[in-house]
Subunit: 333 residues, 2 copies
Amino acid sequence: LRQTVQNIVLASRPHGHITADNWRLTETAPEALQEGSVRVRVQYVSLDPAMRGWMNEGKSYLPPVQLGAPMRALALGCITETKAPGLSVGTYVTGGLGVRTEACVPAQEVAALVPGADVPLTHHLSVLGMPALTAYFGLFEVGQAKKGDTVVVSGAAGTVGLVVGQIAKARGCRVVGIAGGLQKCQHIENLGFDAAIDYKKEDVLQRLGDHCPTGIDVYFDNVGGDVLDAALAHLARNARVALCGAITQYNETSVRGPSNYLSLLINRARMQGFIVFDYMERYPEALEHLTAWLKAGKLKMQEHVMQGIENFPHAVTRMFEGKHIGKLLLKID
Amino acid sequence: LRQTVQNIVLASRPHGHITADNWRLTETAPEALQEGSVRVRVQYVSLDPAMRGWMNEGKSYLPPVQLGAPMRALALGCITETKAPGLSVGTYVTGGLGVRTEACVPAQEVAALVPGADVPLTHHLSVLGMPALTAYFGLFEVGQAKKGDTVVVSGAAGTVGLVVGQIAKARGCRVVGIAGGLQKCQHIENLGFDAAIDYKKEDVLQRLGDHCPTGIDVYFDNVGGDVLDAALAHLARNARVALCGAITQYNETSVRGPSNYLSLLINRARMQGFIVFDYMERYPEALEHLTAWLKAGKLKMQEHVMQGIENFPHAVTRMFEGKHIGKLLLKID
């Protein structure tokens, strides 16, 4: 029997970069389980760039994590006790369980994994998880990508970017990925991207011109900053820019706006933000496509699993350093 | 018989602000009239902020005006000679005639005024002209404004802005206008705008919050810069930003991007540029609505007519100084 619950709580809000003293490891007594809720033993926590935003005070698409509360995180675990009809002990679920060894959450806040899906558990936090759903709706709904389009994705070796590029290829688009470093660029080329641009070594503005001679039809932005500006400069007529994130800006104390935004005017183009949660009702449709691409070998994902809840601060730092390729996870159990 | 044609030609390209030596007044012999073209005696030239962009070298939605060529301008005139079937001498036409006393242009580049429309000639360059069509398609197509929406328009006392605000009111929107100076603000309030913000005296960011308690559903941007940033900070969920222009940025040598662009992400909002020429096939539909609102007294426009082609440089300066309210025209004849 588990005596205490370990939690990583938000000890202070970062100014700029996250530091070790923004976190504190606490031990608490297990909560009492409410009617309609389940107790979940957390097994894997997903590391996501969005975490940086959740740490800020002030209005966003979700309320900020409160000081002293467990850090918000998407996670996967197994039900150990249930007071919710239809969710039985032993069922695996995903949801916003938080960075803790055990979570008691209302049934409607978790999704049960379909039994017999025959994929590794961790895939439900990566290639069949929120990052993949984000890629799917951003690319096909917001970006309206269709066969023959030139698609450019930044943060191309991140979880979302890797899915964007691969499913765009699966739909018949030309895909150019922007990533940092030779290893990442080689990785995305091996996955079938038509071209890779190394923003650390190459002139992104010029290379986008080389690789997109008819302009960019869909730009999927994960990074903001100079790369967004370079992409705006190469938009095709009627282009769509899907704003998914701005990882270069999250740790900045002031955001720099895209000075080439008037390219939207000249090219009758649009830039649109989205939040994957808005598409919840259509997750099953997306998962059907993603699973089919996965099984057909068109969608691959490296996963990096770090160990131990106490290593969460290191895992966050590693994610923002951007040295890994693919999906970063923390195994709790 | 007219012996010579007077032209205002582009003598040099401006760096930043337009100066008097960017223009030269020339006299040329009348052109020979080609088959399929008409000779037009130019009577009114429209002064438009877009002129600043046309003077720049480099790719835009129209080719740049060539050095030594007559300045591009929307204008209205009367056919004095015709080699085009269906266009007879004495017919009034509008089109990109340029800043000159006489223009020979292909028939497809002009639009004949509907006889008996029973409105002053100058209205065809203002409240029934390109600025009004720009307002119509930007507001209702790009902005998707509908009854009950909160609409904010900048440059609200400019030609486009005045039309945006009035036709938004006519469709049942709440309208907040942003303009510079007490006189302009009083003018738009007299026209029925629900509120006016004086960006020269008031804190636009704070006043938008006061006047748009549920956020901005449609922001029609004519100015860019700080005002665009303030509007982005107050977007409602699923808001639409129609980018029509950026008059604060046209005379700058480097454009400042909107640092609040991540509000698009949080609010699942979009920012979209447009060019009125893309809606050419639907001009008749728009003109029908605009004419009806005009006749119903729901659409009004002050027009300021300056005299003489030689005063074109002064007229341009006056337009960018923004001291007039409404539409600025230059009478050529």
